[in-house]
Amino acid sequence: MCRSSLAIPFGMFIVIALGALSNVVAVNRFPRPEFQGGYEQPPTVFPAARPELFGYMDIAVLAGALCLAAWLALKKRSRKGVFLLTVGAVAYFGFFRKGCICPVGSIQNVSLALFDSSFALPIAVGLIFGLPLVFSLFFGRVFCSSVCPLGAIQDLFVLNPVKVPRLMSSVLGLLPHLYLGAAILFVATGAGFVVCRFDPFVGFFRLNAPVGMIFWGGGLLLLGMFVARPYCRFLCPLGVLLGWSSLLSRRHVTITPDTCINCRLCEDACPFDAIRVPTDPGQAQEPRSRSVRRVLLHSALLPLWMLLGGLGGYFAGDALSLAHHRVRLAERILDEEAGGSDNVSLESRTFRAGTVPVPSLVQQAQAIRKTTKKGSALLGIYLGLVIGLGILRFSLQRKRTEYTADTQHCLSCGRCFQACPQEHRRLANISKKGTE
């Protein structure tokens, strides 16, 4: 059973299976009977709220899983343990807890609490958001390694990973920042929880999702067979925050338990391109003055990037405001009134049946658009800063003598030390001591 030869047919099979699954979940609901003559529709029954105790149980499980992940990755250095925890995370946080509330989505709850004074952030949600960040600050991204259900399900699908060209990943690395900014912007303007709306895997966890969501998640899993954990690396907004805190982490996974012998095996083993390679000692060095000039130039260009980003963001505000349902509804109604649409949509018909007049809606939509433009200008400034700093990072000359984990992007999965000959030697020594 050759892995590479089987990967493609296996992937095709998964697609067929997902297609079938999407049909299952997308099957029509039972049509409403057309009752006539005295039948009274039964009142709508809402399920009871989940007991508060379960919320605290989730926090306890999350904290326990984070502790275990940190111990497995940093102390025990057990890839098998990390893998088993990954399976457990998919089972508990995924299928048992239906993927909600996850720390990735909790960014939006925290943002809402910041922008909307009427929204009180539940303690449980605050802890679910904060715990992974705190652990990341001490132990690196152990949450990503095996606790996050979104990352865990992707990790199980990593079959035949290929390296993403560095040039491409440097550009794709902008997407999580964009997604994070957009998520906060949409929360601030009331457009909704975009991260939850486009959660790719919650449909699998709940066994009910729109067809689009099934294909979105299925596509990511299919892609993830070859480009490991694409959502985590190129989309996850929480990954941005975890990456920042992981940069400052007190302890982090190390590839080798001893001196690096520069064998390069870890570089091949890491499917996430999160290993910093040593610089070539024989390589011709660039004159220092030239490096300094370049760094100064790109430092000076930072404000320009921010200005450009701010302008672009401001202009994009019109388009981004359409994410808000009130703006879309106002546009639709105005279009209908201008004769641009042949049919009256269900939304506009329902709106007209209410008591709020169109001018109020238009006024509200214009206010939302104005706020969105301001917010998207700020988002543009942030993106400009990210781009400027990214260029600056690529302008710096660093000397490295051994392979080290990229503390910002390393997901602490343990694949690198599993491949390290020094690690094998350590384990052999432990085993030898054990037998003696």
Binding site: A319, P357, P359
Partner: protein, 562 residues
Amino acid sequence: MTVGKQSYLSFVRGAFWASMAFSAVLAILLIATTIQVHLHEPLNSPALASMVEQAKQEPGNAELKAELRALDLLARKAYFTSLWQLRTGGILLIVGVTLSLFLWKAHAFLQPTSTPLPQPATPQSSWWAEQSGSRKLLAYAGIAVVFIAAASTFFVQGHLAGVSRSPSQQPALSSQRLSKGWPAFRGPGGTGVSHYDTAPVSWDGETMSGIRWKTPVPRDGNSSPVVWDDRVFITGGDEQVREVYCFSLQNGRLLWRHEVQIPSVTSGSEPMVDTETGYAAPTAACDGRRVFAIFPTGELICLDLEGRKVWAQNLGVPENHYGHSSSLITHEGILYVQFDHAEGRLMALEGRTGEMLWENKRDRLSWASPICVNTGTRQELVVVDNAKVSSFDPETGSLLWSHDCMYGEVGPSPAYADGVVYVTTEYSPVAAIQTPSGDSSRILWRWDGDLPATASPVATQNHLFLATAGGTVSCVSADSGKTVWYKDFSEGFYASPVIAGSSVYAIDRAGVMRIFQAGAEYREIGNPKLGEACVATPAVIDGILVVRGEKNLYCIEGDSND
């Protein structure tokens, strides 16, 4: 590799292929089942549909009903069974896929691997080039993002960007200021009494003597003209198109026309409109900032004085067997809509925005219009229906007083003068109701005689004048409720009489204006002719009359009555 490990590996490999095959077969079956369910939805089976049709034609056929119920139950069972199959199959599929993944991983784990030899580091001669490339690519990507973001604004040019429909922040005009115009049906407050004492008394529509201008109205309508400043607003319409027109008071030029198209909330229903009522019977109203119009289709629109739409609502097609004809009225920036039909409402809408301030359910029909009067102690909104006359607080909508004194189909609107409200309709004698200075109102007197069917009465401090469809005009004493004088004309009155100064203006259906003294004796002032039929109530503005004929709109400025 040991023999035992080899056998494990073989087992895992076999199990992997088996689980793959299982999942693949299951996936194909699920797809096929789904297609089958979609293609042959059991509830849409032709057999069931034909039986339903047959049952409709034979409502007494018990055997058919039982058979239909049995088949329906079977179809529903089949449907739910299909759902169960799909859901169970889906769960099994997830189990199969998970097992396949697990076995894949297990196989990889068990497969013998030789520890690779340490490899020499690849030459990094391209490191600088890569750094430089990354910088450039990032910069290009940044510029591209900015360009796309900036360009997006051109691709989402919606209507919101260009629309300036934010409600005017100008304060509403006071009733006193508004009374200097003719802002609603029967003028200020809807009482039919002009703020001005002077109005023309002689003209001839055929010879254009005393006529400032005469202009055709594009579409027919029974609504009356409304005048504010130098503009005349009027509505017209038919089954296809409803419009609001604005004419210059100076020269009669059509300044603008606005076609009303407000998508209906309820699709498919057509309004019941009597040919005599027409599609533009309710008169528009103006609050000095905006003009409002309503049509029997339920379309309610607010335009600014330049004809731009401020807001619009479709109230739904009223179930009103003659067609909606109640006119609008405004007070202190609030629009009042008497929307009488099977599920009628009296509504107060914020004039600037159309926002609902309050609404009262109305369970009776009428074709009359509300009046809004100051009784000296408070403002009252008086409405009438086929059972009672009611007064409401215009601000809150709370009921102030009510009297069950009406019956029949009510067309005439209430009249008001000096603290007394007068209501009547054909077959329902006039009731004079003293508005309360204290707790409750009371009926002062009833008067029975020739009663109006459509024309509303008009009152002064001492007299009430009633013009009827039969062509009679009665003057009733406000104090005693006795007939003061009575005059029979040759032609009936549909238009409501109005008062300017000491003169009553009542235009008959033939277009002859009967002008007489508003006093204890009948004293004729003039009988000028419009030159065409007329059912609309004239507007009186400082020596000017604006009259809508059957086809034309007239501005009359002949010799005055001063």
